[in-house]
Symmetry: none
Subunit: 242 residues, 2 copies
């Protein structure tokens, strides 16, 4: 039709609305799982046609930020948990800093002999006793990772009891005399979930997992933990700080 009547708008209205909603979600005004206002309400609030609101919502949906269900509404998608990894990996601190509620469940703790691979990683002799524990990490009640952690019992006497008494690796290691520890190596790859992992993580067999293999060492460089963690691919994003 005719040319521009209003002032030359550099950004389309729908993008402005999308940006606004994106901000609301980012600031936590609408949280994961919350229902956004109806398209009618939004078109009233922004004083635009409902089509324009739909365009904005469509963009957010493309970004994976929201999901719409016909007849039900538009919902904020479950945001993947950002999980920083680096030289210091502290599960509870990481998630608390992100404003989430961390939780850890120990499923099993056994003391057994180290396999050759485990012995090499921990720099102990094959057959030396290690304390191995399986567990689950949750954020806001949702399982996000399944882990297997091995501690050299010969180097850290009493680590077994310490792990069962306390809730976190950091505290347990502190109890047996390791005041500080840092990550000396991390290896990452992608695998498919087997039946056991799927069960614990409440996902389906064959879903993608991000597997992290790492060694933590004390300040003298002695390995104090060799662990493998399987992160649910759609619930976690590992972030590396440049």
């Amino acid at each position: 039709m005719a040319g521009d009547k209003p002032k030359k708008r550099r950004t389309p209205i729908w993008q402005a609305i999308a940006t606004s909603l994106r901000g609301d979600i980012a600031e936590g005004r609408y949280q994961s799982g919350d229902r956004l206002p109806t398209e009618a309400e939004l078109s009233g609030r922004f004083d635009v046609n409902r089509h324009t609101v739909r365009h904005a919502l469509s963009a957010l949906s493309d970004e994976g930020l929201v999901r719409t269900r016909r007849g039900s509404g538009t919902f904020v998608a479950a945001t993947p948990t950002d999980y920083p990894i680096g030289q210091r990996v502290r599960f509870h601190e990481n998630l608390l800093a992100a404003g989430r509620h961390p939780e850890k469940r120990l499923l099993q703790t056994v003391t057994r002999s180290a396999t050759p691979r485990e012995a090499r990683a921990l720099a102990i002799a094959t057959g030396d006793h290690i304390c191995a524990c399986l567990g689950l990490s949750l954020a806001d009640g949702r399982p996000i990772a399944f882990f297997e952690s091995m501690f050299p019992e010969t180097r850290l006497p009493g680590i077994g009891q310490a792990l069962q008494q306390t809730l976190g690796v950091t505290q347990a290691l502190d109890l047996v005399g390791v005041a500080d520890y840092t990550r000396v190596s991390t290896r990452l790859t992608a695998v498919l979930a087997d039946a056991t992992q799927a069960l614990h993580l409440q996902i389906s067999e064959g879903d993608p997992l991000l597997r992290s293999t790492g060694v933590n060492a004390d300040s003298q460089g002695n390995p104090v933990e060799y662990g493998r963690t399987w992160f649910a691919g759609d619930r976690v994003t590992l972030t590396l700080d440049g």
Copy 2:
């Protein structure tokens, strides 16, 4: 039938066979990708039943040392390529240092407008032109990663031609005046391969991929590249140096 008095055997035959084959592989007698002798040949060579050979091969397969293909044979598994990631990611240098032959194939290069997400990542205005290219990274002729790389053409005039002339990102950026660049953010998660990715990576749809999303910036901190890379989960292990 059984006239023989079997001597007291401490280690099972199948374990001895597994150890023997493991040694052959370790000494390079069978190299990565080579086909082992058929089960029939092995059962003849070791003078045992095929089941016994299969038991040994099964153990090696569990260790990830070999992989069997029905109707085809048993092959020495290709060792996953170690791929260090950190503030400096240089594909060619990384692989050359590991004694492998790196290769890069550009599949497509187009210039188009940036989506909001891309614009945000590159710190440009939505709609600014970017040069987007799809490609494939190979090690020793095997595809290991599929990538999508976006460059801000407004900030780096001529990047499109530079990319098509040269073989690597580093050289192309050098041509348009970016002498050095570092990674300012990296995000990792696991996903399943779709049909396109599976085709290019020569894997199956639904195989696990490790997706890396990252931004590279020049020494002043201006983003010069926004890229996503999908690594074949069973061919690559990302390593982080502590």
